[in-house]
Symmetry: C2
DNA sequence: ATTTGCTGCTAACGTTTGTTAGTGTATTTT
DNA sequence: AAAATACACTAACAAACGTTAGCAGCAAAT
């Protein structure tokens, strides 16, 4: 069939991972076969194994790539000296732009993590749980400081995160407003939903 | 193995569908095998086919059950003589209680519809699209009447619906507030996010 | 120019998949 | 009690799956 094309910044391995993310998003992890992936990459199925260890490794890479980005970000935000509501807004904007930019990856990591194998599965679940707790902590802090209305913080987190993951249907839709407008609308609705 | 237990209100077929919904939710449609389902129902895999036509029929039933319930509901709400914001709140409450009560079904219909086959796939997609449009129309009406702040209606719909589907993680969580509280919190955040 | 490693190929493996055929037995209907 | 229907079983199928083994050619390093 020929070899996998690379430019200088992208290794063959990375090409495979990118195409895998796109396929996993479109059809789901379990419904994507290595032969399909190989087809799209432009190679026979067996050849993929020169670059990766297994199908599940692909999912691992995708999921932890995303998770690590978010963990980095929240650490940065926690350290900043701004109000709680501003922190939440910043975090929200990061999630929105991140979703628009790394759509496939984020989508897969959100919807397909069930198919991770141990110990990765347990690992990611813990990471996600602590991530949500850290956001909830920011909100609770904001409530204490009377910047944020008195609500159940975990519920607020749940709303925020899932609202963002809804960008999926924006991505698909035809009558698309542009990314920046989308961001402003989401921030407007969600932030004023929290403000006291 | 023995036969499928039924009480008087639930047919054997319905037992299978319920257990299927639970399994599809937990492992995903593609990752659930008919042999697993049979095990849980308490029967050999082949015996399932005395009650259903195929694995995909199970998914069809689950998805369209949910879709039909929603379509019924929005027609009712449209007909009521209350303000737009009240309509949105009512709809929101319906979604929340529906998600809490028929969790497996709704979850599966939300996340696994990709695996429907034609013509059911196209059918459901259209239904979902028109459903979202009808909600957006209510919101736009509210904007015109100055009950709702000026925002992009499709974006608001997207936030609402996906926020509700986030109840999934509430369902899983340990430190659970009760269903009624959850509902009040969600309504509070989302409705005041819309109000002018 | 020769070696070395990278990357592709074909062929095949052992499993698991959804589903059908055919048969026997319990339950319901007549 | 006899006949008909409902339902479960065993056995087997063809197809699809992820992955490995073994080999050939091209690219980069010596």
């Amino acid at each position: 069939m020929g070899r996998i094309k690379t430019n200088d910044t992208t290794s063959r391995r990375e090409v495979i991972i990118e195409k895998a993310a796109a396929l996993f998003k479109e059809k789901g992890f379990k419904a994507t076969s290595m032969r399909e992936l190989a087809d799209i990459v432009g190679v026979e199925a067996a050849s993929l194994y020169n670059h990766i260890k297994s199908k599940n490794e692909l999912l691992n890479i995708i999921c932890f790539d995303v998770a690590n980005r978010y963990m980095q970000m929240i650490s940065d935000i926690e350290a900043e000296k701004i109000s709680s509501l501003e922190k939440i807004e910043k975090l929200l904007r990061f999630h929105i732009t991140g979703m628009v930019k790394h759509f496939d990856e984020v989508y897969v990591s959100d919807r397909e993590w069930k198919h991770l194998e141990e110990p990765y599965l347990a690992n990611l679940q813990t990471q996600r749980r602590t991530y949500r707790r850290r956001i909830a902590a920011i909100i609770e802090d904001g409530i204490k400081k009377k910047e944020i209305k008195k609500i159940d913080a975990p519920t607020a987190v749940l709303i925020m995160l899932h609202a963002v993951s809804g960008i999926e249907s924006w991505h698909r839709s035809k009558e698309k407003i542009n990314g920046k407008e989308l961001e402003e609308n989401m921030v407007s609705i969600l932030v004023s939903g929290l403000r006291k």
